[in-house]
Amino acid sequence: MTVGEKLGFADIPALFQRMTGDEKHEWAAASTLHVLWVLYDRVLDVSPERVDDPDRDRFLLSKGHGPMAYYAVLAAKGFIEPSTLDEWTSWGSPLGQHPDRVLVPGVEISSGSLGHGLPIAVGQAVGLRVQGRSARVVVLVGDAELDEGSNHEAIALAGRLGLSNLTVVVVDNESGTHGWPGGVAARFAVEGWATSTVDGRDQEALYEAFTADHAGRPLVVVARVVGS
């Protein structure tokens, strides 16, 4: 397997295993896996040949911790060579426990500190819009990450600016200590976002949600991933 060779979803467990050494089911428990796969396989207009194309779609992994699913998908889609996974987190490896855009082709933001990705995504959506580019920006956050106030600043502004080229996917595994009464989507809806709440392991439902019409409004897809 080399850079550029495209693999399928069935190859994900083997790619995961290169990082975790896990023989069992750690890959299946990764809450972000199906979301990432649907985005990279069917939704995003990105490819390893176009990592610097100004018109490429942008995917921002804001919840940068637990990036194994992300790296596995990037390897499956040819952005990084699968053998790179074997040495991850070691000195000299481009792959850390938090992704670094300067080190990894196809990684759009360096992340890990919570509450940064969505504000950056809002800025990217504004930047693409004023340049007349049709690319979309998709940013993945965790439900507990929504605790960070910077996200609420961003949710309000994106709603008011009508950033239809912005999609937030909230992977909701109910990990927030104080929770979100009424559900995560309600926080976005009140700010004028189009919302959709789906089973985060149902790839067809995720695809439908990501491709639903949301003219004039930003879109949030709440991907519920509860239990393992």
């Binding site: 940064h116 950056i120 809002v122 800025g123 504004v126 693409l128 819009r129 910077s150 600043e153």
Partner: protein, 294 residues
Amino acid sequence: MREVFAETVQDVMADDPRVAVVIAEISRDAFRPSPRVVNVGIREQLMVGVGSGPALTGMRPVVHSYAPFLVERPFEQIKLDFGHQGVGGVLVSIGGSYDDPVWGRTHQAPGDVALLDTLPGWRVQVPGHPDEVEPLVRAALAADDLRYLRLSLRQNKVAFPVVEGFTAVRRGSGGVVVAVGPVLDRVLEATADLDVTVLYATTIRPFDGAGLRAAVAASRPDVLLVEPYLEGTSAHLVSEALSDIPHRLRSLGVRRDAELRAYGTPEDHDAAHDLDALGIAAAARRLFTHPVAA
């Protein structure tokens, strides 16, 4: 300075589609409506994060607010959303260290430059006259790097040509004074009867170590550093520049040892920090007229 900054940015924007402005209510009336001017409301963390987005799409963002809200409140955003992403931006503050002291501590940010010193790669510029602002802003917008422009209501009587390193305003044989931005007039008044070299800086990062060494070589290795922000902010760079030369250094700036719970005028605060002509003169006399034995 603020008006020159806003007008220059908008003048450049007319021809350069890369330029975008992100503000958080402060100075909203200084910018005419444009899709490339985004007022995020009173959301300073968001302001800095949103500012990095255009840079990631190939644009040149200008992020602007009052100094404490621009640098101190969203400091992690400055650290992670610009330098760590590998993109540049132009941060422009107003308010200086205590331009409007009636508001008290909330509106004072004497530590801004020292804070940015904890991050690599920032070019820090402190104009001392409104006429120095336009060339600094134009150069910042034409570049791709990390820039912090610290604007103030305080200013010197005359402007100097904007250059990279130090400008020798006066030459003397008894030592060297480094005056940053709007403290220059007070430094010149305080050292009028002393035979010393006075260096003036608008660009203080990168620090002109070579310029300081040359000035010291032509004078004496006694250096009085006068900065309009936290005392000793550039002291480590003076020490580095003169590391192989026996030298003396005295730093003046906003005092570190106490939070002044006082209002009044900027001049009152100058006096309290020994940053008025009297205080600078006293420090200069002690340093330059009592040389160590040869």
